[in-house]
């Protein structure tokens, strides 16, 4: 599913080899389609082997045999597995992702409702991770073995090892319940709910565009704590990777040459070393962003955040396979899209990959 940064040079070579842009597009498209098909098959099979009866999820525990069988036929679960998959594939090709058994809405309209919530959270989280993580990683590499490096390591270790639900609840307890600096669980306060006519579904954006600043700030104060939490976990990862890339770069001969030439240390670090570390870093950030876009179930549960992660998990636990498959396709598309973008960005930043 994920094409990592090291595939980039290959892509560059193939560009020259094939010459034709059309062929590259065709190849990329077929890879994407194959990935999607694989994704669908695996998810479909997982949905069928989980020991949860999808019919029971709809009709309840005490339904009579007749009700049960009717529902089974309605859901199409009485047909052979291969037929079910075939029907599903045909529908997808027609752009029909089916209806969620749980919410009764078309899966895509459900996802269109929950995805903006996750997008908002993941974007702010990644911003926090990048803006703090990269400088921290650079400082840790430059002052290797010094206190700042140790501090960054401790912070990173904390980010890797502390369970997110614990940190989330502690954050709520301190910043929401005790200090009252931020708003509590949920995307909006009750008083502001439903006042905004949704355009993109991203509340910050909709409120800003419509000039509803009170709603904007209310949403912002709801968002900031979960986003900081996700940002913290992504900064732990980004800063460790930055440090590692920077250490490699700082040991290169061109750095020594630059120093011999008398360039200032700041210029060497920020203009030369970091610039060379940017390409792999972009891949790291993209990966981290994509995984946040997938939705963080625990964070979304603690913060009563109606996002994609919770939607898919809840659907899976109710064997609502249309919803799970639809969600998987979206996540697959996000991963593939973000990776493509990061490949392109990597090529822009690093001439060696062109």
């Amino acid at each position: 599913m994920i094409t990592s940064g090291k595939d980039s040079p290959k892509g560059g070579v193939s560009l020259r080899r094939f010459g034709s842009i059309g062929q590259v597009v065709a190849r990329e498209t077929s890879t994407i389609l194959a990935t999607f098909l694989g994704l669908l098959i695996v998810t479909f099979l997982i949905g069928r082997v989980v020991p949860i009866d999808a019919v029971l999820a709809v009709v309840g525990e005490n339904a009579s045999a007749e009700v049960y069988n009717n529902a089974k036929v309605e859901l199409g679960l009485d047909k052979p597995l291969l037929t079910q998959f075939g029907i599903y594939l045909v529908k997808i090709l027609q752009g029909d992702f089916g209806v969620s058994n749980l919410t009764g809405n078309p899966v895509f309209s459900d996802i269109a409702t929950v995805f903006p919530a996750t997008l908002e959270l993941a974007t702010l989280g990644t911003l926090i991770g990048v803006l703090i993580g990269i400088p921290t990683g650079v400082a840790a590499a430059v002052y290797r073995g010094k206190w700042i490096d140790h501090l960054a390591r401790v912070v990173g270790l904390f980010g890797y090892s502390v369970p997110v639900f614990w940190l989330g609840l502690m954050g709520l307890l301190l910043f929401y319940a005790k200090l009252g600096w931020v708003e509590g669980p949920g995307r909006q306060s009750v008083a502001y709910a439903d006042l905004l006519s949704p355009v993109t579904g991203v509340i910050l954006l909709d409120a800003a565009v419509q000039g509803e600043w009170e709603i904007f700030w209310d949403a912002f104060y709801h968002l900031i704590l979960p986003a900081t939490l996700l940002g913290f976990f992504s900064l732990a990862y980004i800063s460790r990777m930055t440090r590692s890339f920077m250490l490699t770069e700082l040991q290169q001969q061109y750095v020594t040459t630059a120093r011999v030439k008398g360039l200032s240390e700041g210029r060497i670090i920020w203009r030369h070393a970091l610039r060379n570390a940017v390409a792999p870093l972009v891949a790291v950030i993209a990966l981290s962003y994509a995984s946040l876009l997938e939705g963080s179930v625990l964070t979304e549960t603690i913060f009563a955040w109606p996002g994609l992660g919770r939607y898919i998990t809840n659907s899976l636990l109710n064997a609502d396979m249309n919803a799970v498959l639809g969600g998987t396709v979206v996540i697959g598309a996000i991963f593939i899209g973000v990776n493509l973008l990061s490949d392109i960005a990597g090529r822009l930043f690093d001439p060696r990959t062109r």
Binding site: V182, T301, N318
Partner: protein, 528 residues
């Protein structure tokens, strides 16, 4: 809601500041509850807790309970009724002047439409009235409007009239606004698509919106026959995490928290702004003992299990304030209750019984359990006490849907389960626990008795059959007491506990009525 000011272009939470405490709008009651169980708000389809609560507040049923006294069954849409000599025909007289939210007047046609529709749709909750002998084929003859204010119901089975009346208080007898529903029928769905998230009732509240996994809003119906609700709006927010509910409640961002665990309840108990409200609940917690599993075929072994549960120990510790010890199938606090707890932890006695049953050295058994608190703690306690008699319990934790799937397929050995009544009559549980006319693997009735492969003894069968028909209510209740005693003696169930509904609310919230059968709330009289 307070105003906040941003100090600088800060992105970090550390740079933020704020002012006063939040509070909920004065005319809106804000409730935190996990509402992800809702599949449909159509009374003919709903079978879930959150949906039942919504329907109780939005629709009027033929018979119902009112928040003024949640223990007293009264007429809802029905003003009075008479029963024919043979007990088969019920003549219902509707309350005059009843009006739906839409402004349409309620007539007998609406009642007939609602009941026929529910039977024809035959969704999950319909089983409660199939006991009347109602089917899609005969319902048009059995539920008939005699005049605009009179409906006759005929049953074809032998059921005590008091039992029929109890069943008529179920959600499925909700009276729908026929005209309004017919305006929204698409593709022969009888309006089910529209009713899924819209309402067509006459109850104290109107369903304003339902956003799956997010929120549900009820608006007051100013024309309700018993007076408009005291709050303008009830907003139910989906908050699944109990610890988050507690924080929201303490901060005043919600008025009522529905899912606090015992330790969280203790935590808020000391808060002067918060009150805790308790009610008995008719849910019964039991161990399901599958007789397909070889050792459980022996009555001595089944009986031994009853002596290997530390009932009081659990209630005194991690179940404190949440469940009480209860060892029969119908809960305390209702007609036909059987009090008394004949079983306590007694390892010696259990060993004796196991030896008699041919298992002096015990055996290994798998225990299916929900993977959440306090069920896992219960399973650990049971594992511990059973090991004292050499029964090695392997705990198999799973999601509740998975647990139910295994249970309904009778693939368990031991399973920790709960049973909640579908209507407030002991028959609701008696049916589940003692009805199993066909014990084959593909039997149509998947009652608890079938799930545990119980070949019902003749005396139990006779009692159960007698109870259903008995016209004298006092005698009928006595039969259920006798039936419970029989099951206490020997059955594939170890009845352990009865549930409590506990809610935590802000001090200024008054008069929330809790339904003792299923723990749903009535909001009509609530003030804040």
């Amino acid at each position: 809601m307070k105003l906040r000011f941003l100090h600088g272009a800060a992105l970090s939470a550390l740079l933020l500041t704020s002012t006063a405490y939040a509070e909920t709008p004065g005319n809106t009651l804000v409730v935190a509850k996990a509402i992800d169980d809702i599949i449909s708000l159509d009374p003919a389809s709903n079978y879930e807790h959150s949906g039942t609560e919504t329907i109780n507040n939005v629709y009027e049923q033929l018979m119902q309970f009112e928040p003024e006294d949640v223990t007293k069954l009264v007429g809802g849409a029905v003003e009075s009724w008479t029963v024919s000599e043979d007990g088969k025909t019920f003549e219902l007289k509707l309350r005059p002047g009843q009006v739906f939210h839409s402004g349409n007047a309620m007539t007998s046609n609406d009642v007939v439409f609602s009941l026929q529709r529910m039977v024809k749709m035959n969704k999950a909750p319909a089983f409660a009235v199939t006991q009347f002998g109602w089917t899609a084929d005969n319902i048009e003859k059995l539920v008939v409007a005699r005049d605009p204010m009179r409906v006759d119901l005929t049953i074809t089975t032998d059921l005590a009239p008091s039992l029929v009346i109890s069943i008529l208080a179920n959600n499925i007898t909700s009276v729908l606004d026929e005209k309004l529903v017919l305006e929204h029928v698409t593709a022969n769905d009888m309006g089910a698509g529209w009713l899924r998230n819209n309402s067509a009732g006459s109850g104290p509240f109107v369903l304003k919106s339902w956003k799956p996994n997010e929120s549900l809003v009820l608006e007051a119906n100013p024309n309700f026959r018993l007076g408009a609700p005291k709050v303008q709006r009830v907003l139910i927010r989906h908050v699944a995490e109990p610890a988050s509910q507690r924080l929201l409640l303490e901060r005043g961002d919600i008025d009522v928290a529905r899912a606090l665990t015992p330790d969280l309840m203790q935590g808020v108990a000391g808060n002067p702004d918060i009150a805790i409200q308790d009610s008995v609940e008719a849910s019964v917690q039991y161990l399901a003992v599958n007789e397909k599993f070889e050792p459980f075929k022996k009555p001595e072994v089944r009986k031994a299990l009853n002596y290997l549960v530390d009932y009081q120990g659990m209630v005194d510790t991690f179940l404190k304030g949440q469940w009480t010890v209860h060892q029969s199938f119908w809960p305390k606090g209702f007609d036909a209750e059987l009090d008394g707890t004949p079983y306590k932890l007694d390892v010696e006695k259990a060993k004796e019984l196991l030896a008699k049953g041919g298992y002096p050295d015990g055996f290994t058994v798998k225990l299916n359990v929900r993977n959440s608190s306090p069920y896992l703690e219960m399973a650990q306690s049971i594992q511990n006490t059973m090991s004292l008699a050499n029964i090695k319990v392997e705990i198999n934790p799973s999601d509740v849907k998975q647990l139910v799937t295994a249970y309904r397929g009778r693939q368990h050995e031991l399973s920790q389960n709960a049973w909640i009544p579908d209507y407030r009559d002991p028959q609701s549980h008696a049916y589940a626990f003692t009805y199993n006319p066909d014990n084959s693997d593909d039997a149509p009735n998947k009652t608890a008795a079938w799930r545990n492969a119980w070949e019902i003894p003749q005396d139990v069968k006779d009692l159960a059959a007698a109870a259903v028909k008995e016209r004298d209510t006092t005698k009928r209740m006595q039969i259920y007491v006798d039936l419970q005693k029989k099951l206490q003696e020997d059955s594939p169930y170890v009845f352990m506990f009865q549930g409590m509904t506990r809610i935590a609310e802000r001090k200024n919230v008054q008069s929330i009525a809790i339904d003792p059968a299923n723990g749903v709330l009535y909001y009509r009289l609530t003030t804040k």
